[in-house]
């Protein structure tokens, strides 16, 4: 202080912490830290963030039976934590000598949309936002022109005069464009004809949705919501186990039912019996009979060469 030059005082003042600068700095720091914490707050909402176990999980086709059992246990635990029910998750494999085919009788369909809602209930689809695997198109009589189709019709009663109805879902193509574009092989065609998705392998790029000409693939843009009392506990790994935000899903012919020998949910709820399902390799199955005896078939957008396993037919 008594330095005649007065230099050292100034230097010391600026270097050392005095009361005022300490207060200022700490106030700035505290505000800054609080603001940083607040700005990172949205990260707290990522409660569904991947677990180490899921992150380290191997590709579906490379899992040994023991590893698969552990994966199924993990999924059961996750579902129980999230929805409060203990599900039964299975990994059902395709049966030998089985190739599934769907046939839908356009003469019979009245467009009541019961199949849509039975599918949602069976396959644990998000209720809000809605994800629905089946879209029922209403088209004027005369031709099958999807450009003229409506899917949000709401009359007092169906069928309406002058219109017919065409439910569209995954066509389980023999030559599926969605499988070709998947950069990570998270979707593939199984030997029984079902194109499946490994929801743990999907990276959410949505190429498959862009490639699908049938609008069959649905993306979880937000976190799916299912009321706890509406969760179907009969689940399959490649089927109806609950999905996360950021993964693709679609109709899988109710893999958890059909690979156990049962009919799909949309078929069992149809009041008119327009929906037929079965093994095309069995000559005595309903679908074999239909493809043998009925005369008019439509494979939707046949000209694209996707060769759907979903046949629309008429009662002639």
């Amino acid at each position: 202080m008594s330095d005649p030059n007065g230099n050292s005082t100034g230097t010391a003042d600026s270097r050392a912490m005095n009361r005022r600068s300490f207060l200022r700095t700490s106030a700035v720091l505290t505000t800054g830290m609080a603001a940083l914490a607040a700005s990172l707050a949205p990260l707290m909402e990522l409660d569904d963030f991947t677990s180490a176990e899921r992150f380290m999980q191997k590709y579906y086709k490379e899992l040994t039976p023991g590893e698969m059992a552990r994966v199924l246990k993990r999924i059961e635990g996750e579902v129980e934590r999230q929805y409060g029910i203990r599900p039964h998750v299975r990994d059902l494999k395709p049966m030998d000598g089985v190739e599934f085919v769907y046939a839908l009788n356009l003469t019979r369909c009245i467009g009541c949309r019961k199949c849509v809602h039975a599918c949602v209930a069976e396959n644990n689809q998000s209720r809000n936002p809605e994800i629905q695997y089946i879209r029922v198109l209403k088209m004027p009589h005369g031709s099958i022109d999807v450009e003229k189709a409506q899917h949000n019709y709401a009359p007092e009663s169906v069928p309406e005069k002058g219109f017919f109805y065409m439910p569209v879902q995954c066509q389980q193509c023999k030559n599926p464009p969605c499988v070709k574009v998947c950069p990570v092989h998270a979707t593939w065609q199984e030997s029984d004809g079902i194109t499946v998705i490994d929801y743990d392998w999907c990276i959410g790029c949505r190429y498959c949705a862009a490639a699908c000409p049938y609008w069959a693939r649905h993306f979880n843009f937000t976190k799916p919501t299912i009321p706890k009392d509406k969760v179907n506990p009969d689940m399959a790994y490649l089927g109806n186990r609950p999905r996360r935000q950021g993964v693709m899903e679609k109709c899988h012919f109710c893999i958890q039912r059909t690979r156990a020998g049962r009919y799909p949910a949309c078929l069992e709820v149809c009041p008119t019996g327009a929906r037929k399902f079965g093994n095309i390799l069995d000559p005595n199955s309903e679908v074999s009979y239909i493809l043998r005896t009925k005369r008019v078939f439509i494979q939707l957008k046949e000209e694209l060469g996707t060769s759907p396993r979903f046949f629309y037919y008429f009662d002639v």
């Binding site: 600026s14 009359p155 069928p159 020998g261 009919y263």
Partner: protein, 214 residues
């Protein structure tokens, strides 16, 4: 001197930046997911797998109230039933049978109870080739006229099965004609459709309704 000012300025700048970020997140400036508008849950009637109607045969099988099928509670066995027709040769239903809708066949052609019912024994059905069938075995009676449909039904291509497509793993349940069709008025009745899809975007949700597109 310079250093200290620089640090202070950087810290102040950073805290302003973070404050702005925090404010932006709180005010939701770039769309943190807002809770979506509620969608009413689908009526359980739309996920119900019951058939379109409950037939008399089903009532008898399941032990329901089948008293309406007891013909001789009112009819007299010794007295043959007289049918009455109006001036247009249309069948006149007696008061007791007013609940029946006579709508089988177009142009009033199927206008006689005894095309299907047995006039000698009202609790039986008769086919045109003279077979007598019990009330619960009506399907071959329908098949005696509706041949192609009956053939489809036998092959499983007509009607709504339930249970197992693979009979090695479980049973399949096939329905009778009358489980879905009213024999007196067999055309499938129209019904209210389930609600359509709700668009993801609230504005589109409000605008949807009669508009088309896919």
């Amino acid at each position: 001197m310079k250093n200290s000012h620089g640090t202070n300025a950087a810290l102040t700048g950073l805290s302003f930046l973070f404050s702005a970020l925090a404010a932006a997140f709180l005010l939701n400036l770039w769309g943190r997911p807002v809770p979506p508008e509620p969608i009413p849950p689908a009526d359980p009637v739309f996920t119900n797998t019951a058939t379109a109607r409950v037939s008399g045969a089903e009532l008898i099988r399941t032990g329901g109230d089948a008293s309406g099928l007891d013909c001789y509670a009112c009819h007299d066995k010794s007295k043959p039933v007289q049918l009455h027709f109006d001036e247009h040769k249309k069948l006149v239903l007696p008061e007791e049978h007013q609940d029946l809708v006579m709508g089988h066949g177009r142009h009033n052609r199927n206008n006689n109870c005894f095309n299907c019912h047995d006039e000698a024994n009202l609790e039986l059905l008769q086919t045109r080739d003279g077979r007598e069938l019990k009330l619960v075995e009506s399907t071959p009676l329908c098949g005696s006229c509706h041949g192609p449909t009956y053939r489809d039904w036998e092959a499983g291509a007509h009607g709504r099965p339930s249970g197992y497509w693979n009979q090695k793993l479980g049973p399949v349940k096939r329905e009778d004609c009358v489980s879905c069709h009213d024999p007196h008025s067999p055309a499938f009745p129209s019904r209210a459709p389930a609600p359509g899809p709700h668009p993801l975007h609230p504005a589109a949700r409000a605008a949807s309704g009669s508009e088309g597109g896919h």
